[in-house]
Subunit: 251 residues, 4 copies
C-alpha cells in the first residue's frame, strides 16, 4: 500500500512568509508551489523549487486567482478563456524555476476559491483542464474525488488524481462537510492520524453520521499554516510509515 | 544582405491597448512580446503569440521591471538575484503561450528602464543573462551594440544580437544621442527610411556631427505606439525590400 | 425641469488611456472618477479632478473592486467588511485630490461588477453604504432606482440618487433589459436623444413591450468609451437644452 | 524633558502579517501606519487606526513607493510629480480610516527607500513635502535631522520633526553609519536603552569614533519586526520613564 502526501508551499510574498516550508518539505512527497497570483514571488518560487528537488519532493503548480489581497480565497467571476490563460501563465512561470533547478512541474492543483470553483463548476474546471493540457498532455491534476475537475480531466484524457483530507469531516455521500458546520474540522492530532491510516488502508472513512463511506484517494492533503501543523503532518507520516505504508509521490 | 525588424507588441493590459499589433505584425520579423510585468496580461500574451506565429514572426520575450503603473520605464533598484528570478518568471510564462500556439520563445529583449540599465550596468546585465541561460543555453539576447548586456552574453556563451535605431541620432562614438538633446529623434519618415537603408547596406550611419560611424546591427527596432508609427514601419520595410534586402528573423 | 448628466472618467492607468475625458467633461455635470482599484492612477486622478473643477463638474468617487486586470467588471466574492474598507480607502484617496484641486467628493457611484452587485445584493449594498457614511454622513450615492443600493441608503439616512440610461432598453417593470438580449442597447443616436428627453420630461420611458413605464431619475448616465460616444453625449445634452431643460449637478 | 516614540505598524498585507502591532502600540506614542503601497491593505489600515486611537497613539502616514513585492525597500526612479500624487493618494486613503475611527492623520513619515531618497535628494524631498502640504498645511513630517526632507519642510513652512535611532551607530558628523559597516547596528538591549536615555537627556550621542555628537531629536524610532524587538522597545520606554522623561507624542 502506498500514498502521496501533499501540502501548499511557497505561499509567502516579498517580505512576508507563511508556514514553515523547510519543515513541511521533510514530510510531504508533493509540493503545491504557489505561482505568483495568490502568493509566491519569483524568488520564493525559485527557492521552493530548489528545496523540493533537493529532497526529492515532486513539484506541483498551485495555481490561483489573481488576488494577492485576498490570497486567492475569493471567487472571481472571470471568463473561462481568461482563466485558462491565467492558469497557463502560472504553469509556464513555475516550470521555468523547476527546470532551472533540474526538474519540471509534475502536476497541477488549483488553490483556494479556484479549487472549490473547479470542483463544482464544469466550465471553470474545463478552463483549468484546458490550460493543463495546453501545457502538457500528460500533466496530472490533483483534486476532489468526483469533482467537476476530475470529470473534465477524464473527458480531456488527462490523469485526475483524487485527494482526501484526514482533518475534515465527510458526509455519508463522501463529500466534505462545509467548514462552517460544527465538527467540520478534526482538530485532535491522534484522530487525524487514525483517520489518515483508515483512509489509506481501507479506502473508507467514518462519515459524520457514523457510517463508513468509500473515499478513493491517491494523495492526502496536509496543512502547514496553522499552529501545530508541522507536528501534525509529521505525526500523520510517522503513523502511516509505522503501519508499513509507503509514502511516495503519485507523479 | 539581410536584416531583422523588431518591434514591441502585446503592450496592453486588461481593457487597455497600446499600438496596432495586427498591423505591426505584418511588417516585422521579430515580435518583442510583453510578459505581464510592465504590460501584457495572459490573454493578450496568448493572442499576440498566436498572431505572431500565424505570420511567421519570431516570438521574443520582452521582459521588464514589475511596474504596471510606470510601464517599466522607471529604474528599480532591485537586487540582481531577484531580478534574475523576475526575468526567468516572465520567460517561462511567455514560453507557455508560445508553445501552446505551436512555437517557442526565440529570443529575449529587455524593456524600457531595464533595457537601459542592462546596457550600462554589468551586474544588471549579468542578472538578465543568467535568467536567459537558465531558461535556455541557446537563447539569443537582443540589445545595444557594445552594451553591458552583449558583453555579458559573450562571457556566458550566449548569442548577443545587436540592434540599431534608424529614428535615433547617433554620436560619433556610435552611441545613441540622449533623448532630451535636440535632434535626438528623427521624425521625418523619408529620413528614417534612408537611414535604415544606410545602416543595413553599409553598416554605417551618419552621426550627429556629420561623420560616418560604424553601427553593427542584426536587427532594426521599429516603434509602434506613436502617431504614424505603422506607416513609418511599412515605409522602412518597403524601402529595404525595394533595395533587394531580405527581411528575415535573426533567430 | 432639470437633470444631471454623469459619465465615467479618469479610467486610464499608467501609460494607458480610455475615452476622451476632456471632451466628456464639457458635456456632463457629474464626473464618476476612477479611484485606482479598477482603473485610475494617482496622477490621472489629480488631473481629472483638476479638469472637472475647472469646468464646474461635480466630482464623484467611482469605486470598484480591486481588479485592474478585469477593469472591475468581474464579481469578486469579497467579505462585506473588507469591501467596506476597500471603498472607504478609495473615497479617502480621491478626496485628497479633489481637495488639493479646491473642492471635495460630491457623491459615490460604484463601478462595473460592484455596481451590479450593489444593485441586487443587500449585504454588498450595505457595505458600500457603510463606507459612504463613514466617509461623510451627507454623501449622496448614485445608483439604479429601486436597487438594493438605494434601499440601503434610505435605511442609513443617506441620499440615494436614482439614475437612468437612455441607451438601454427597459422592461415593463422598469428594470434594464439584460445586455445579452437582442435590442438591449439602443444604438441609434436620435433614438437615444429622444429617449433622454422623454425620460426627463415625463419621468417615463417606452419599455421593450411598447408600454410606458415610470423611471424616476435625477441623473442620466452617458458613456464615453465607445466609438461615437462623445458625439452622442453632446447630442443628448443639446437635445435636452433645446427643450429648455436645465443641465445641472444633483449634488 | 519629553520625547516621542515612533514605530512602523500595519505592515501586513492580505493574509500576511509583520511584527506584533498590538504589543508595539502599548509602547509607542506615534504609529507610522502603512498606506497600501509598500504594505497595508484597507482592512489592516482600519484595524490599526482603531487600535492606535484606543490607546491614544498618534496616527502617522507611513507612505512608500508602490512596490509590494519589494516592501518599498527598492528605490524607484519615479518622476517627482507622480511621486507627489502617489504620496497624496496614500495620505487621503489613510486619513479616511483615521477619521472613521475618530481622529485624523497627525504626521507623515516616508518608508524604506523613499525615506532614504527623501533624506538625500532635494527633488524627491520636495515632492513628498508638496503632497504633505497639499493634504494639510499644518501636517508635521518626520525625518532625519539635517536631511533634504526637513530642509524642504522648512522651505515650505511645514513642521519638520527630527528623529533619532538609539540602535544605530552615528558618525562624528551626526549621520547614521551605513548599515553594511561593522558595528552599524547596536544589538545589545542595555546599550540601546542607555543610548536612548543619553540621546533624550543630553541631546548628544557617543559617535563611533568615541566623540560626543549633538543629535537633535523629537522622536526615537523603535523597530518591531526583528526577534526581541518588542521586548527592546519596552525596555527603552521603561528606562526613559524611570528617569522621569515624559513619553508623549510630538504631534
Amino acid at each position: 500500500v502506498q500514498i502521496d502526501l501533499n501540502a501548499d508551499l511557497g505561499e509567502g510574498f516579498g517580505i512576508w512568509r507563511l508556514g514553515d516550508d523547510r519543515a513541511l518539505l521533510d514530510v510531504v512527497t508533493s509540493a503545491n508551489i504557489a505561482c505568483g497570483f495568490h502568493a509566491g514571488d519569483p524568488t520564493i518560487m525559485r527557492t521552493t523549487c530548489e528545496m523540493a528537488i533537493e529532497r526529492g519532493v515532486a513539484i506541483g503548480a498551485q495555481v490561483g486567482y489573481r488576488d494577492l489581497a485576498g490570497f486567492g480565497r475569493r471567487a472571481i467571476a472571470i471568463a473561462p478563456d481568461d482563466l485558462a490563460a491565467d492558469v497557463l501563465y502560472q504553469l509556464g512561470a513555475l516550470d521555468a524555476f523547476a527546470r532551472a533547478a533540474g526538474d519540471r512541474i509534475r502536476y497541477l492543483k488549483p488553490h483556494g476559491a479556484l479549487y472549490h470553483a473547479a470542483a463544482s463548476d464544469q466550465a471553470i474546471a474545463r478552463a483549468v483542464v484546458r490550460a493543463a493540457r495546453e501545457f502538457s498532455p500528460t500533466l496530472p491534476v490533483l483534486g476532489l474525488p468526483a469533482s467537476a475537475l476530475l470529470t473534465q480531466c477524464a473527458a480531456a484524457g488527462l490523469r485526475g488524481v483524487p485527494e482526501a483530507f484526514a482533518d475534515r469531516a465527510y458526509t455519508a455521500a463522501g463529500g466534505l462537510v462545509a467548514r462552517d458546520v460544527p465538527g467540520a474540522i478534526v482538530h485532535e492530532p491522534d484522530a487525524v492520524a487514525r483517520r489518515s491510516l483508515e483512509l489509506v488502508v481501507s479506502g473508507h472513512i467514518r462519515a459524520q453520521d457514523g457510517t463508513s463511506v468509500a473515499v478513493r484517494a491517491e494523495s492526502l492533503c496536509l496543512h502547514g499554516d496553522t499552529p501545530g501543523a508541522v507536528e501534525l503532518a509529521r505525526l500523520v507520516r510517522r503513523t502511516l510509515e509505522m503501519s508499513g505504508i509507503e509514502i511516495t509521490s503519485f507523479a
